[in-house]
């Protein structure tokens, strides 16, 4: 009598699982190694960091202490730079939301004449490679007298974040039923009341996604920050990290510690809003 092939089936499962692990383990290592290496430097005393060990003999938080107490030449303005990054990212988030929500409402709900053209212009900007736009943008900010002023970076990042924000918000707006607006008009609501009382509450999930996107974009930005800002007390954290490299004997363990601290907020924000981000952003990126 042949038993219902118990062992046969589980062997197949083991083989499948093994094949999946054969992919999963390299994927895990590939993803984590640069991040782990950064973390390893942050918790290693200088001697251990340079010795190529995979775990320090004496893990320490000393590097964090140096950074938080600003006890190194490169870290003199750590808190100011952290604050600059924070203020700029928050301003970009708020301004992008205001500008893009207004534009999306205008194009999608009010059907403003020429709205379609503006949307296409925005899409065109979305497709200009960022490093290409940086060249004329740098000179333009100079012409406007904004170089070394936080406004230059804020406005540049708003310019870069808005097209995508308008695009995603317009897509989301189109999905809201027209009847809502019509009912509100019947009840005598003005355009602004519809915007405030009907539109904004319904758009909340998309607004969270777009706000997070704009904040992360600005927080993580290096190229524009490094072109547009240069005084030690005006620059953001990534520019300060880049400046570490200028020295012949860069304090790499401090560079990695500061980098680790700098990378934590976006990772935390990303995980906190992951539910909104993945749906909202991937849907807008490529319409299939």
């Amino acid at each position: 009598m042949k038993l219902p092939g118990v062992s046969e089936f589980s062997w197949r499962d083991v083989a499948t699982e093994a094949r999946l692990l054969l992919i999963g383990i390299p994927v895990f290592l590939w993803t984590m190694i640069p991040i782990y290496h950064m973390f390893l430097f942050a918790i290693s005393p200088k001697e251990d960091a340079f010795s190529g060990k995979l775990w320090p003999d004496h893990p320490t938080l000393h590097n964090f202490e140096i950074v938080f107490k600003q006890q190194h030449y490169f870290l003199r303005d750590f808190y100011v730079q952290f604050w600059n990054s924070l203020v700029i990212a928050a301003s970009v988030g708020v301004l992008t939301l205001v500008i893009a929500t207004a534009a999306a409402f205008s194009i999608s709900r009010l059907k403003v004449p020429g709205g379609r053209v503006v949307l296409n212009l925005a899409l065109f900007t979305y497709f200009i490679p960022a490093a290409f736009l940086a060249v004329p943008m740098y000179r333009t900010m100079g012409n406007y007298g904004l170089l070394n002023n936080h406004w230059s970076l804020i406005l540049a990042m708003v310019t870069i974040a808005s097209p995508y924000a308008i695009w995603v918000l317009k897509q989301a707006s189109d999905k809201l039923p027209v009847e809502l607006d019509e009912a509100a008009v019947m009840d005598g609501a003005t355009t602004l009341q519809i915007f405030r009382l009907v539109y904004l509450p319904l758009m909340m999930p998309s607004l969270v996604a777009i706000g997070t996107y704009a904040v992360l974009l600005a927080w993580n930005e290096y190229l524009y920050a490094f072109l547009l800002l240069s005084n030690d007390r005006e620059i953001t954290l990534p520019v300060a990290l880049g400046n570490f490299l200028a020295a012949d004997d860069s304090p790499w363990e401090l560079l990695m510690t500061t980098g680790f601290i700098y990378a934590l907020p976006p990772a935390a924000v990303y995980y906190a809003f992951r539910r909104y981000m993945v749906g909202g952003l991937t849907a807008g990126a490529v319409k299939s």
Binding site: I35, S106, L110, A131, F132
Partner: protein
């Protein structure tokens, strides 16, 4: 906001306001902030930049600069090799991550990290790993073989490959995520039917998965090309364009000219990429605004 009162007005109302409803006036007011940003920070800079790059002498200078030729070739290598490797891996991994397993779900959460964290600390971390004297990679090579490892960033070919690797590390999660979305949209009963007919995994991929994902895959590849052209960080933070300016791509070259105060050369080098970029942009806009 002008308001037309009635037909018997002695002064004719301005034609524009008579055609616009209050809602449309609000529409224009709400659209104005973006239009201002667009005019001030896209239209003006682009026109000004093109005007700066107008002299033919710029293009002669670029043609005579060996670094420009090298950067153009590097950009092409970056696009053709880098993007295809990246997109093929993303296509493959999208199949892996679409499997329903708790540990794969956890891995997918970790897998997103390179995309979520900023470039500068992670790319600098890779840069230090590749350091010939102190980097962990050469330490491992030494402990395994007793020989010194290569000087990774000193050979332009190796250094460029490493920059492509960094680029893939950074942007692979995003494209994998998009392709997973595409894969999950395929009707499941197609696979079940194929399973009943005893189709191999290759047959399932060839006749079900690929036909439904082909358009998405091609669109992603093209969009990725545009964005890769704008990727400054992977090359600049890893190699700084070196050794001897041999690993520049067009985006880092433009910034290099800018730093050397040769703005018209910087713009001209970007203008040279336009015949390549504009058809891509046109195609993407047509796809998206359909």
């Amino acid at each position: 906001m002008a308001i037309t009162l009635s037909g018997d007005q002695s002064i004719p109302a301005p034609p524009l306001s008579s055609r616009l409803t209050p809602a449309q006036v609000w529409g224009i007011v709400l659209l104005a902030p973006y239009l201002l940003v667009f005019l001030a920070f896209v239209v003006y800079p682009v026109c000004y930049g093109l005007w700066l790059a107008r002299a033919p002498s710029n293009y002669v200078a670029l043609y005579n600069d060996p670094i420009f030729a090298r950067a153009a070739v590097n950009t092409l290598i970056f696009l053709v090799i880098g993007i295809n490797i990246k997109m093929l891996i993303a296509l493959f991994l999208s199949g892996f991550f679409a499997q329903q397993r708790p540990w794969i779900k956890w891995l997918s959460v970790i897998f997103i990290l390179p995309w979520a964290v900023p470039s500068i600390p992670t790319i600098l971390s890779v840069r230090f790993m590749l350091n010939p004297e102190w980097g962990v990679i050469n330490h491992i090579i030494f402990s395994l073989t007793g020989d010194d490892g290569p000087n990774w960033l000193n050979d332009p070919t190796v250094a460029l490959s490493m920059a492509i690797g960094v680029h893939i590390w950074k942007s692979l999660p995003f494209w994998t995520l998009i392709l997973i979305t595409g894969r999950l949209a395929i009707a499941h009963d197609l696979f079940e039917a194929a399973e009943v007919d005893g189709a191999s995994w290759w047959q399932k991929f060839r006749y079900i998965t690929w036909p439904s994902m082909q358009t998405l895959y091609i669109t992603c590849t093209l969009l990725s090309m545009i964005w890769t052209l704008g990727d400054f960080n992977s090359v600049y933070l890893l190699t700084g364009g070196g050794p001897a300016d041999l690993t520049h791509v067009l985006s880092t070259l433009g910034i290099r000219y800018l730093r050397l105060d040769q703005l018209s050369l910087a713009m001209a080098s970007i203008v040279c990429a336009m015949p390549f970029v504009l058809p891509l942009v046109y195609f993407m806009m047509k796809r998206l605004s359909r």
